[in-house]
Symmetry: C2
Subunit: 339 residues, 2 copies
Amino acid sequence: MSETNRKFLLAKRPEGTPDRDTFELVEEDRPEPGPGEVTVRTLYLSVDPYMRGRMDAGESYAEPWDVGEPLQGGVVGEVVESNGASFEPGDVVTGNLQWADYATAKASDLHPVNPDLGPISTALGVLGMPGRTAYFGTREVAEPKAGDTFVVTGAAGAVGSVAGQIAKLSGARVVGFAGSDEKVAFLEDDLGFDAGINYKQTDDYRAALDEAAPDGVDAYFDNVGGPITDAVFTKLNVDARVAVCGQISLYNAEEMPMGPRKLPQLISTRARVQGLLVGDFAPRFEQATRDLAEWVASGEVQYRETVTEGLENAPDAFLGLFEGENIGKQLVKVGERGE
Amino acid sequence: MSETNRKFLLAKRPEGTPDRDTFELVEEDRPEPGPGEVTVRTLYLSVDPYMRGRMDAGESYAEPWDVGEPLQGGVVGEVVESNGASFEPGDVVTGNLQWADYATAKASDLHPVNPDLGPISTALGVLGMPGRTAYFGTREVAEPKAGDTFVVTGAAGAVGSVAGQIAKLSGARVVGFAGSDEKVAFLEDDLGFDAGINYKQTDDYRAALDEAAPDGVDAYFDNVGGPITDAVFTKLNVDARVAVCGQISLYNAEEMPMGPRKLPQLISTRARVQGLLVGDFAPRFEQATRDLAEWVASGEVQYRETVTEGLENAPDAFLGLFEGENIGKQLVKVGERGE
């Protein structure tokens, strides 16, 4: 166990797209747990698009980070020291911790990771926040039914890939937008999507949808926003449901993004458009994790992870999300268990 | 009873804002009812913003009118001739008929008007389609609750004025946007709105809302769209509901109207935005009419009508909707009962 600790601070608020200068890596002594706390050694760190919002000062659903303060994110780690807390050294836990080699936390802010459910990294992906987001966003908001056409953007990502497979389980035709031929092959060949659209190979998203979703769109799970979403809205059927989970294409905008006004389309379709935050479903997380674990075990839900090695490369892993560099869940591997 | 009939045809499709040349008044012989039909003499004709959509060729929820074909709308009229139909001469009926002095219809396409519920003209307003739109849009889509702040645009119009009063009955704080000081006085003094905003006297809608809706917006009933709606969206509270009933500010646009993208705001608020067509609630129309008639009788819902005299002036009455010339329901008085 190292006596020193590395951690990332928010060096400055990004204007538009963040870059390496947004982050500052500092060294300090390994933190000591206070009474009732543990020290956790980071094994995997999650980077997620929503973190971009926390870098800005404005109001959002997640509290803004202060400049000079540590960044935080989902972590799977190993307890290395316990100061009278309910976890023991060696326990594998997950929680919202610093982007660091080590972090202290109260036991009540951590959850045990059950290694019987799958590799421990899945607690940050298919069996963690992204999986649960897909689960509730699909089942409770987009609500695909048998025979429906379900469209998802960011379809090869941590949330979209699971959302599409859950929609498939409900009997819908599933169409996904993704940013490379490799991703489209992943959707169609590995995940069983009915059609994938490589949005970087077309600028006529409407024509691509006319082909992939000839009966229109009944349920839309949006992780991306912008012009793809504009095209999907022109294809919404009567009583369609739209789950707005993310809008990654807009997060780095420096000015208010403009687009075609969509409310008129909602009148003729009576579509319902609803924002989604997984935290609202917290009382039902256990059920979601149980269902997802079953589907993973049965092979009904497949997942993939893109793993960047080394805490020092966490900023690159984060920045890569906006370039679509990941397939499936983007993780940063910080340490090995039992090292 | 006249032997001739006047009726309006769609002379041409408007490009942008319609004008008098959109309409052509023609004369013909008074139509004879076929078997099972009646001839109805028009007493009141309704003009409504949604008719603008029927003037265009594109897809919409209401079938487009063909050029050279008669315009249609809600009519209250008197049966003057019956050819074996279930109505008798003298019966007062309502239905979707031509913009004409006389029109024939099957009895099954007409509904009796109950004069005990109120003046017969109310079958086109507070006790008709606009009242029912307000009823279902407020209670089933915007869902104001006690203590909520409810905002409505087109607040002095046929739908908005009733929507605001229904929201008031549920215990919400009610704020209305309208286009003149006279309308604002109507909202505040006659209808019991908590605040009215004359949008023609401010261009900082957000600042006006900061004052009128200091606790944010929980329920929004939108008849207008455009920049006012943009401002309301910036004030939406968590779990807000938006009923998209109309977008009159956009109906005459010649190019795709652009505006600030709103989906990001839905994530942080988890707001639900839903289009509204009153026809979807047809199985429950009777209940709505009964409730509305009770509220009108008790004085809990007030209504006003703006009456234009003469069929020949129907186009002006329609065009005036887009200038905000009406307070309450805009009607065209075409004939007197028993003439």
